[in-house]
């Protein structure tokens, strides 16, 4: 059937060659046979014959047609290019994923990140301590040359101490105002003159528990670990509070008992204590035991805590402490927090139909006074709801949660609260 197959493949070129009479008799016979077998070729042959009879240049016509075809393919291709659904979906999904991961890191990874920073910080300080160690050793020996025996004592008693001395002196140069102690140059003289100082710190290392009693440090050396406990106003430990050395990135975090430990801090430096839901506090390092540090609750941060942090059990416990404990801040806060209060009010107003006349985009503008005993009084609505409905709102507020009253200088005082509540 090869011949049969070949019949279907007669091209315009072959036909043209046949028509021109350049083909041999045998070739002509082949073409004729194919023309008989295929109507397409026969029709085309007729057309080509007529074209050549009218002396029309087919190759010029073909060039023109090829250009038109190309142009047609390119223009329409752009217009009708269909992006398959899965491609659009995948683009949308990847954008969503991107934002999702971003939000995840912003809201949930904060703790881990600080932890990670802590760790790298620790390792960094260790390595620098080791490298510095050798140099300082020599230096101390060199300085103490006039009294070689004392120098040896210093070095052997606490090589780490001598290293820390160096650290302290550099830091002290940076923040002279924070230091109780003298400047860098003086200190070196100090060391030479008062070799007793390192010995005292060596004692501290030997009996760290004995150091609980206030030890007055006469030189600027650092003791290895400072510790303290972070508590709230109810003496409950604050878990996960971050203690950081001011103007550096050295940080520590409190454990489940609210206890933190921080290394390589010198007396006179300032520590910052931050905890979610509490006002930040600064403390000046006085001795190794930093004692109990109390943080006051930050009412404005409460809502945020409730919304974002419900991850760990520890956090939940923290939330409860926050909500149960009375915030000592200036403005009145509803017991249970604002968002719970809003929800209560919204639900009770909706169920009584008090806000049925309110346009759903308008917030309910509420004013009330919180008495020192925590009861709301003088409830007023700035919206025009009608007498009956206004009364319903007033009752809902009065029967609602109690309030932590406003405080001024620690005293409970009466204060007016304004609140705009969206009903949506």
């Amino acid at each position: 059937m090869n011949k049969g197959k070949k019949n279907t493949e007669l091209t315009a070129e072959e036909i043209k060659k046949y028509l021109s009479g350049e083909a041999s008799a045998k070739q002509m016979h082949q073409v004729e046979k194919q023309l008989l077998n295929e109507a397409f070729a026969a029709d085309a042959a007729e057309g080509l014959e007529k074209l050549s009879a009218e002396k029309i240049n087919t190759s010029a016509a073909m060039n023109d047609l090829k250009k038109r075809l190309d142009a047609r393919i390119k223009t329409k291709q752009k217009q009708t290019k269909i992006i398959p659904l899965w491609q659009r979906a995948s683009v949308a999904a990847s954008i969503a994923l991107f934002f999702g991961i971003g939000l995840y890191f912003i809201f949930y990874k904060t703790d881990n990140q600080t932890l990670a920073v802590n760790k790298t910080q620790e390792t960094l300080s260790k390595t620098t301590a080791e490298t510095l160690h050798e140099e300082t050793k020599k230096e101390v020996i060199a300085i103490n040359q006039p009294k070689p025996t004392k120098a040896k004592e210093t070095v052997s008693a606490s090589p780490q101490n001598s290293n820390e001395q160096e650290n302290a002196s550099t830091i002290s140069a940076q923040e002279p105002q924070k230091l109780v102690l003298q400047s860098n140059e003086e200190s070196k003289a100090d060391e030479v003159l008062k070799p007793a100082a390192p010995i005292s710190s060596a004692k501290e290392i030997a009996e760290p528990k004995a150091a609980k009693a206030p030890v007055i440090l006469t030189s600027r050396e650092r003791t290895p670990t400072f510790s303290g406990q972070i508590l709230d106003t109810e003496n409950q430990p604050i878990v996960g509070a971050i203690v950081s050395l001011k103007n550096s990135n050295k940080t520590a975090q409190t454990d489940i008992n609210g206890v933190f430990k921080i290394n390589d801090v010198s007396v006179g430096e300032v520590l910052e204590v931050n905890a979610i839901g509490y006002n930040p506090q600064e403390i000046v390092v006085k001795n190794q035991d930093l004692g109990k540090i109390k943080l006051s609750e930050n009412s404005s941060a409460l809502a945020e805590v409730i919304v974002t942090d419900n991850q760990s059990k520890a956090k939940k416990a923290e939330q409860k402490t926050i909500l149960i404990n009375e915030p000592p801040t200036q403005d009145p806060v509803p017991v249970g927090g604002w968002s719970n209060y809003d929800t209560y009010l919204r639900n009770s107003l909706k169920s009584t139909g008090a806000v049925s006349t309110l346009h759903f985009e308008d917030p309910l503008r509420l004013r009330l006074t919180v008495e020192p005993d925590g009861t709301p009084s003088n409830v007023q609505i700035d919206n025009e709801l009608g007498k009956e409905n206004t009364q319903k709102v007033v009752e809902a507020v009065k029967n609602g949660p109690k309030w932590f009253p406003a405080k001024r200088k620690g005293k409970k005082v009466k204060k007016e609260v304004k609140r705009e509540l969206k009903m949506k």
Binding site: A25, H29, A44, L48, K50, L69
Partner: protein, 193 residues
């Protein structure tokens, strides 16, 4: 589209081109395929339309038909299908223009509807293989047809040679062979029944 272009080898046969176009809708593929037959289509159009520019336009319009039809139609023999499409397009064009071109009388005999599908068979009628058995049928042909058929199919002469040998007119030889072939086919098909 980008990946498909790389994951699949470039089509070579008509069927591969058709499958690839049907799968992707890529006009470049269809364009490549169409270019193979464009001159033939042009010639066919010229045969009917007798005008160069009109034929060119027809070539482009036929391409538009393919763009739509080949997305959904499965075509087994593209060549003969394309011929049908081209032919029908030209005949419809002529009909809509109410043009009476010289020597074309297909409107009267209803060829527009019937003829396009006349040559659809994939296997052309193989006269040579049947000829020896068909002596009976050969006898039914006229002398001119029989002579021309014998010379053409058995002695493999071309039209020109047959003209020289027999003294018949070239166009007459053509029609003798065409008609003789058709008559033989009908005769053989009758005998098979």
């Amino acid at each position: 589209m980008f990946f498909k272009r790389f994951s699949k080898p470039k089509p070579t046969t008509d069927a591969e081109y058709l499958a690839a176009y049907q799968a992707t809708g890529n006009l470049e593929l269809l364009g490549e395929l169409y270019e193979r037959y464009m001159e033939m289509v042009f010639a066919v159009c010229f045969k009917y339309l007798r005008d160069e520019d009109e034929s060119k336009d027809a070539v482009m319009q036929i391409f538009e038909e393919l763009v739509v039809k080949l997305r959904t139609h499965s075509v087994e023999n593209f060549r003969s299908w394309l011929h049908s499409v081209a032919r029908n397009h030209c005949l419809m064009h002529l009909r809509s223009n109410r043009l009476q071109t010289e020597g074309v009388d297909f409107f009267e005999d209803g060829s527009v509807e019937n003829e396009p599908f006349e040559h659809q068979s994939d296997e052309p009628f193989e006269l040579e293989q049947n000829l020896s058995k068909m002596t009976d049928c050969l006898e039914t042909l006229s002398d001119e047809q029989r002579t021309s058929i014998r010379l053409f199919y058995l002695e493999e002469k071309c039209y020109k040679e047959i003209t020289d040998l027999t003294g018949y007119d070239l166009n007459k030889v053509k029609s003798y062979i065409q008609n003789g072939k058709r008559n033989l086919k009908i005769c053989i098909e009758k005998k098979h029944e």
